[in-house]
Symmetry: D2
Subunit: 301 residues, 4 copies
C-alpha cells in the first residue's frame, strides 16, 4: 500500500478529534473510519463517511408498512424479510463513501456500476503517481480452457518471472517516457495527451459513494468467485466494513444473496423429482449439460 505522506497526515488529523452529533452513529465503523485497508500491492480502500445504520433500514420500512409492523416483527426479522422479498428501498436509506486506490483496468470494471457517485483523480489536471500493479507470482495463471473469462493453472515460477519482468519493464519504460514528455523544461506536453502512454496497471484513485442497496448489488457480483481476482479483493475488503457498519443487514445479505442459490423453473422440476426419488437425467431434463453440472454442484452432488 502506498499512502502519500500527505494522506497519512490527513488520516491522522481526521482521526484526532470527534464532534458531537445527533445522527445515528456506529462505533464499530467509527473505529475504522479513514484508516486505509491495504488491497493488492499498492491499493487500498478506506471508509471516509457514512450515513445511517441498521435502524435506518428499519425506520424506512416502518414508514412504508406503518404502525402495525412495530410489534409484529423484531428488527432483525424485519430486515431479513425485506432482503428475502427484494424490498430494496429501505436499504437505500443508508449511504457510504469510500476512498479507493486501484489499478485502471480494475477501475474500468468497477465504473460499470452506474448507480454511484464518483470523483476520480484527473490525469488531465494532474500528474499520475508512479504506482503500478504487479501481480503476486501465485496470481499469474494461464487462460482457462473451459471458461472464456477465467484463469486456469498457475504459471511455473520461471514463466511467472518472465511475465513479471515484462510487466515491470514496460511499466517503468512507459512511465519514464510519460515523465519525459511532461517535463516542463523539456517537451512540456499537455497532461491530457501524455497520459495516453501509461499502461492499464497504473494506479488511479477515487471517491466512490453509494447506498447500501446498490453496494450489496456491487458486492454480490464482485465478491463472487467468478469475478476477476483483482476486483474481488476490493469487494472482500469492503465486505468487512459493511459487517462493522450494518451487522443485521450484512447477515441477511450473506444468507439471502451471497450464499443463496437460484433454481430455474426447469431445475425446480428436476429438484422435485430428486426429492421424490424419481429417476432424472440430463438428456431429458431440458437443462443443458452446463446447467446440469451447475445444479448438481450447487446441491453438493
Amino acid at each position: 500500500m502506498t499512502l502519500t505522506p500527505e494522506q497519512t497526515t490527513e488520516i491522522e488529523a481526521a482521526r484526532a478529534s470527534t464532534s458531537p452529533t445527533l445522527r445515528p452513529t456506529v462505533p464499530a465503523l467509527e473505529a475504522m473510519l479513514f484508516t486505509a485497508i491495504p488491497v493488492l500491492d499498492h491499493g487500498f480502500i478506506r471508509v471516509v463517511d457514512y450515513m445511517g445504520d441498521d435502524s435506518a433500514v428499519v425506520q424506512a420500512a416502518r414508514v412504508s408498512y406503518g404502525r402495525g409492523t412495530r410489534k409484529a416483527l423484531e428488527d432483525e426479522g424485519l430486515i431479513r424479510y425485506l432482503m428475502r422479498h427484494y424490498h430494496s428501498t429501505p436499504f437505500e436509506m443508508c449511504e457510504i463513501k469510500f476512498h479507493v486506490k486501484l489499478p485502471i483496468f480494475v477501475a474500468r470494471q468497477w465504473i460499470r456500476h452506474r448507480t454511484a457517485n464518483v470523483n476520480e483523480y484527473s490525469a488531465r489536471y494532474s500528474i499520475m503517481d508512479k504506482d503500478y500493479y504487479i501481480p503476486a507470482p501465485e496470481q499469474l495463471a494461464v487462460q482457462s480452457s473451459d471458461n472464456r473469462q477465467g484463469r486456469g493453472e498457475v504459471l511455473d515460477s520461471q514463466t511467472a518471472e518472465r511475465v513479471l519482468n515484462l510487466l515491470r519493464e514496460d511499466a517503468e519504460q512507459t512511465y519514464g517516457h510519460y515523465e519525459e514528455m511532461l517535463d516542463e523544461d523539456g517537451i512540456g506536453l499537455a497532461r491530457e495527451l501524455a497520459r495516453m502512454n501509461l499502461t492499464l496497471n497504473t494506479y488511479t484513485q477515487w471517491y466512490w459513494k453509494t447506498d447500501l442497496h446498490n453496494l450489496f448489488h456491487f458486492l454480490r457480483l464482485r465478491a463472487d468467485s467468478h469475478a476477476q481476482y483483482e476486483i474481488r479483493v476490493y469487494a472482500e475488503a469492503m465486505l468487512e466494513t459493511v459487517k462493522a457498519w450494518v451487522p443485521l443487514s450484512y447477515g441477511a445479505f450473506c444468507d439471502y444473496r451471497l450464499g443463496a442459490v437460484t433454481f430455474s423453473a426447469k431445475m425446480m422440476t428436476v429438484l422435485k423429482k430428486l426429492l421424490a426419488d424419481e429417476p432424472v437425467e440430463q438428456a431429458t431434463s431440458g437443462l443443458s449439460k452446463r446447467e446440469w453440472a451447475e445444479m448438481l454442484a450447487a446441491l453438493g452432488r
Copy 2:
C-alpha cells in the same frame, strides 16, 4: 402541521442525546435536525440525517484536480468555479435525508425526480390518517388566461368559501366511506382497495434522500416562480435547511442557478446589438413574441 404524539415523542428522544463521531459535522444543521418545519396546513419537512458538508465538495474536487488546486483557489472560489462550469460530481458527495408530509397530488409531482431514494407510507399495509389539504383562501385563484399551467386572479371571498366547502365536504365524505369500507366489524375491505376512494389532497408521508447535486436540480425547478405554489413552499423550506448545511454551495447555487438567466444564441445577437445601441426589434430578431417579452423582462426593461 399535524405531528402524531408518537412522532413528537420520537423527535424529542432523537434530540435528547448526542454521540461522538469522527465524521464531518455541521452544528447549524444539527441545531435543526429532526425538528419539523411546518408547510401548508398539515404538512412538514424535517431533516433526519445528512452526510458531508462544503468541505466534502472541496475534497472531492481536489481528488479530481489534484494537488495543484490546493493553493490556486480558496474553498469558496473552488465551489463557485464548480457550480459555474457545471462540474456536478463533487456536489454528489453530500447526501441528505428528509421526512416529508405532503398531499398526494404534490407527491405525484415530486416523485418525478427519479434520482432519489424514497420510502413512502403504504396504504396497502396501513390505514391512511385523516389529514387532507385545504388551501388558504388567498391561494384560491382562477385558471390563468395566458399561462396554461398557472393561476390568475384570486377568488372573491364568497366564491372561495364555496370552493373550500366543496373540498372539505368531499374529503370528509370520501374519508368517512373509506373508514366504513375498512371497518373490521363491518365490511372489512382490503386496504389496497379501500384507498382508491380517497381524494388527491389526502396527506401522505415519506422519507426522501438525495445528494446535493440532485437536490439543487430539484430546488431550481421547484423553488421557481413557475412551480405550483403547493410544491414551491416545500422547496422554500428545504432551501433554508440547505443554507444551514452547506452555506458556500448554497451561495454559489443562488448566484449561478436560482438568480441566473440564460440567453439563447439568438438572444445573444440581440443583446450585443442592444449594448452597441444598434436598433433591434422583435419582428426581425428571430425571437418569438414570448421570447422577446421574456428577454426584456429579464433585462428589467
Copy 3:
C-alpha cells in the same frame, strides 16, 4: 376500455401505412403495434414504438465477449446464459414504449420504478377525463388476516354491491364538483387546484418507455402473485407483447426469473439434508416458521 374517438382515429391512421426501414423489425410485434389491449374496466396498454429484437441482445453480448462466442453458443443458448448469470447489459440494448391508461393509485405504484422515461397527462394543463375504476365484484375482498398487504375472501354479493355503490357515488360526486369548480362561466378555478378533489381511482394516462432489462425487472415484481391485482393485470398484458417481441429473451426470463426459486444459504443446508434423507425440522433449521413454510411450498410438499 375507453379510447377517445381521437385516439381511435390516430390508431387507424398510424396502422394505415408502412415505411421501409433498415432497422431490425419484428413482424409479430408490428402486428399488434398501436392497438390497445384492454385492462381493467377503462384502461389499456398499447405498444407505440420499439427498438431492437433478440438479435440486438446477441449482438451486444458478442461485442462484449468477442469473436470466440460466435461459434461456441447458438443465439438461444447465449441469451439463456446471459439471463442465468445476470449479465444484464445486453438486454438494455432493446427499448420499448407503451401508452398506458391506468388508475392513479396504480400509477403511484408503477412510477416507483425509476429507470424509465415517462410523460404523463398533466392535470395542471388539462382537464381530466371522467373515467374512474370500479372493480369487478369478484375482485372485492376483505383484508387478508395473515398477509398485511393482501386480500382474503371475496365479499358476498350484497356487501360488494354496497362497496361498489360507495365507490361509484363518491367518484361521481367528486368529479361533478371538479367540473363545477373548473366551469369557466362559474368559478373557473385553476386546474392545478381543482384536481385535488378527484379520487385515486380516476384514470390517468402516460407514455412509458424503458429498456428490456428494466422491463423484465418491472415484470418480475408486478406479474408476481404478491403484486396487487390492479397492477398485475397490466404486467400480464405487457408480458404478451414481450413474448411477441423477443421470444427467446422472454423464454429465458420465464425459466430463470418468473418460474425460478431462490434458496437462502440456510435453506440450501436443509435442502441437502432432505436430498440425503437426513431428518430436518423447522425448529433446528435456522429458518423462521414462515421461511420453512415458503420453502416447503416451493418444493411442492
Copy 4:
C-alpha cells in the same frame, strides 16, 4: 479508420434490404444507418439503431399538456418551448444506439455519463486488436499555462516527431509483449491479466445507447470548446447524425444550449448597468477577474 473485414461485410449486409415497419421512420437517418463515420486515426461512430423522431417529442409533450396545446403551438414552436424551459422528459422518448470505436483514455471520460446503456468489447474474454491512437502532429501541444486542463501552443515539428516516436514505440512494444504473454504455445497468460500491459491509447469499442435528452446533455459538455479534442471530435460526428435524425430538436438545442450563455445573478446586475450606460468595473462588481473576463468575452467586448 479500421473496420475489420467482418465489420465491413456486416454493414453491407445490414444495408442490403429493408423491412416494412409501422414505426416512425426518418429517411435522412436511414441513409446513414450502419455506415461508419471516421473519427481520429482508427476510430469511428456509426448509428446502428434508433427509435422515434421529432414527432415523438411532440406527441409526448401533448399527452402531458393535453388537447389544448394542439392548436396553440406548431411543432417547432412546441419543441423550442420545451427546450427553453427545460421540460426534458419529452426528449427522453427518442432513443439512439451507436457503435463506437475509441481510445481507452477517451472511453474513460465518456463512461462517466451514467444515464446510458453500454456493452464494451471485453478484454477478459477476447484479445484486443492492435489498434492504437497516435495524434496528428498538429494536435500535439504543450500544457496550457493558464488553464490547468488545457493545451497551449502546438509543438514544433521536431519535438512533435520525438513525442510521436515515443508513443509509437511504447505502444508497439507493450502490444508485442501482450501478444507474447497471450501466446498459447508459449506463456498462455490469462487474457484478463495480460491486458494490463496495454497503454491507454489502445482502441476499444462499444455499443452505446441513450435517449435524446441525455444525448444532448453529453453533447453539450463534450462538443464544448473546453472538452478534450479527442472526445470532442466524437461529439461533433454525433451532432451530424442528430441533425439528420431530429432536425427541429437539433435546432432548438443549438439555439438554447450550444450557443446559449448563462449570466449569474451578479452578472445580471452588471449587465443591466451596462445597458443603462452606467459605469461598472470588475473591482466593485462582485465578479472575480476570471468571471469578469468570461462575461466580457461572451458579450463580444
